[in-house]
Amino acid sequence: MNPVSRFMKKLSMLLGRKQFSSDLDEEMTFHRDQAEKEFLAAGMSQEAARYAALRQFGNATRLKEKSHEVVGFSFESLMQDVRYALRQLASNPGFTAVITITLALSIGANSAIFSVIQGVLLKPLPYPHAEKVVRLFLSSAEFPKFPLNPFDFRDFRARNKSFESMAAFTRHDMQLSGNGQPTELSGFAITSGYFRVLGLTPSLGREFDWNAEIPGNGRQIILSDHLWRTRFNAAPDIVGHSITLDMLPYTVIGVMPAGTEHPGNDYHAVPYGESVDVWAPFEFEGNPNQRGSHYMEGIGRLKPGVSAEQANSEMNTLMAQIEREHGGSGWSVLVIPLYREIVGANQRMLLVLLGAVGMVLLIACANAANLLLARAAARQREVAVRLALGAPCRRLIRQMLTESLLIALLGGGLGAALAEGGVKALVALLPAGFPRAHDIHVDAAVFAFTFLVSILTGVLFGLAPALQASRMDPKRGLYEGSRASTGTTRQQRLRSVLVVSEVSLACVLLIGAGLMLRSFLNQLNIDPGFRQDHVLTASLSLPNANYKADVDIARFYTRLMEGLRSVPGVESAGAGSDLPWTGYDENAGGFRFEDKSPPPHEDFHARYHMATPDYFRALGTPLLHGRFFTDADSKDAPAVVIINQAMANRYYPGQDVVGKRFTFEDHPKDKDWMRIIGVVGDVKDKPNSLGAEPAFWFSLPQAANPDMLVVLRTTADPRQLADSLRDQVRRLDPSLAVADVRLMDQVASESVATPRLAFSLVGLFAGLAIVLAAIGTYGVISYSVSQRIPEFGLRLALGAQPTSVLRMVLLQAMRLAFGGAAIGLAIALLLARVMRSMMYGVSPTDPATFVSVLAMVIAIALVACYLPARRAAKANPMDALRAD
């Protein structure tokens, strides 16, 4: 018979279910009556015959069930299970609520973290065949990731065989004017083929060709979709039109589509995402034989079948060739897949968070299993009755699993709703510039994950109670079930094991949270080398068209500082080429001191900056020796520099360096020597750097820099001075844009956002974990006390002191807590390696953290079991005796 007609037959039987049932009833009654008649005929009494017939026939209900099973669909019995489970859950609302909320919280937390992982780590980058795109860096022992020299890049591009296309780019912000407020744009200078490498094509116009790389070939510009829409009303004929950038006319040759993501960069970093407004052609200017200056970011698309490693080794061969031709200082090339470059730094943190939140889920599972086991004990009688009536084991297990799955799905549904809110909160908490933050959504994949996790959770916490129930001996169940006390020792042991695992996982999380808290506090408490309070900062960029000569730049900043100093509430006003902790990384190599030169084949390196006289005073960086710059350190005065403590220690450890001179020239004249006039305290590169790089500062007029950051130290709230700052700038040059007006407090707090996020989340998870573990401990101890009340009563009746009973119960709880804590500490020790890179100034096996977590877990276990223990100590001997 074919399956279709069989299905139809089943369906018709199902629809006529009532008929089927009554037919079967009648048929069986008939059968019994016939049998009874036969027994009567054989000479039995009426009554004996009826009993014989009934006995022979057996359990009529079970019989009918069996026939039903033949014709019924399997989902029919499933629906029965579901209905039964729903009734069970509804009849026990407190139990259902506790277990569902626990699960909802932990499943929700898992889904939220998974959304982040899905958006940041799992979703492919928005470039076609993104796996073929790589970043190129130079590398040395001192500078593991260093930008390229433009001419080195040009040789790479011409000679390589591994790449389908290769491009380079460098930060090149521009100022848009002539159309409303002057605006500072985030821009990049790119070589031809940049968008081809990324696999993107302009939505209007075209990208730059090789011609655009030749200096003087006309100013061309490509706009972002955002800029095109917001500033040019999405004019469809924009291509070919001229716009004013940096006071010069540029011809628009293309518009990139929405969703053009910047691949991220290190040097003058602009975060990954739609963060770029304009792209200008990079022009190869200068002498191709001078290759000391490094500021280009390399990117390339590998040919099919070429791996990043193969490309890396080819590039190193090329670099060796180039160094033979032009000389060099032993750079090697580093080829890194773009994906790793973008998410690499955050991968570990996200995986640690996933691990942490996974542990919370495991604890919630253990807790749910514990609650179900406790209830299974209470339901022993029900199970026994069903077993005695002939319910097959399989069916009972399925029934139990249906219940746990229902609870899990309920929790999962609520959890998904929580995740939706949680993800929004999470994204808001993420550090500014976190890669791919805008890709984080609760989407179908997240829902699928939540569903899967719910199912797994349901099976995981439902299996133990289900198996336990099905293994019961119905006779004992019926007998024991007549009294309240039932739990077998095996069940009690299982529950203890669950509690021990809960406590151990909670311990691991607490230790993780403790370590992260200490790292975070360490980062907050380190002396950053400057005072971040009461400081307002802003960035200014002087367009080359109007400020051609160094003296123009110097004059502007000198006059601006004079103006700002006169503003009431300003304590000191300075300007520098950069601010601490903003990723500034300009390095100069190849200098020597009057009395000290580098060994052969090595270079002296230091980071260079420019500053006005009051820059350090405004930032609050202390002067250790010598003096600050003054207005007398002008263009025509003798060249002077200020160095930091790290540079003094590197080259003249323990000596007085003020007055020493160094130069970049091979054959210096007297004016080429730069005299060290002061030493300032170290400012760490990043809040989590262990030290500062050697660095020196030029006096601004002696090394004019058009792009400067203004630093104002104020006596009152620095926010109130933002307008005064804008006024002062407008007074000098109304066409200038004042960008990035921020408090130094903000800059500083953004830079510790990642450790703060990691600590807050792991802390939250650890809090949840310890509460769950406490509930679990309470449940087990309280249950075991309620079972042993007669025993305690007897002991008390026989003269035991209440305190000794109290001690007995507390000891039982302590065994669980110590067992769990010991395992937890061992796991934490094993995980120390994973945590190391996320720690700052604290060892991942920090004894103080371990000891305090241990103390905390013991204390919480004591609190959790205090109430049951007191109940045990107050057991009434009379009650105990009556109960038996």
Binding site: M1, E26, E27, M28, F30, H31, L63, S67
Partner: protein, 112 residues
Amino acid sequence: MAKKPDLLPGTLDMLILKTLTRSPLHGYGIALSIKRLSDDVLTVEEGSLYPALQRLLLQGWVKAEWKMTETNRRARFYTLTPAGRKQLGVELTQFEQMISAITRVLQNVQEA
């Protein structure tokens, strides 16, 4: 009470189908018939009989209709369908093959 031998697994359907080749019967009649024809050796448990009948109905090998018995009671009578007759043939062949195979094994072991 001496335990009666169980039916060989898988033979119940065949026995029911065979019983029905002579005339339509109700469930009790089928059980009775098997018991009598086997000289009380084979007893069909009701717990197996009715699910088996539902199975055969579902396969379309028997059909059922309510009729009156000689004693004027309503009873459900099962009739063999042509498909059921064919199925019986298949099952009989399989069964005979099985029996002769078992017999051969038993004889060979005896002679060795």
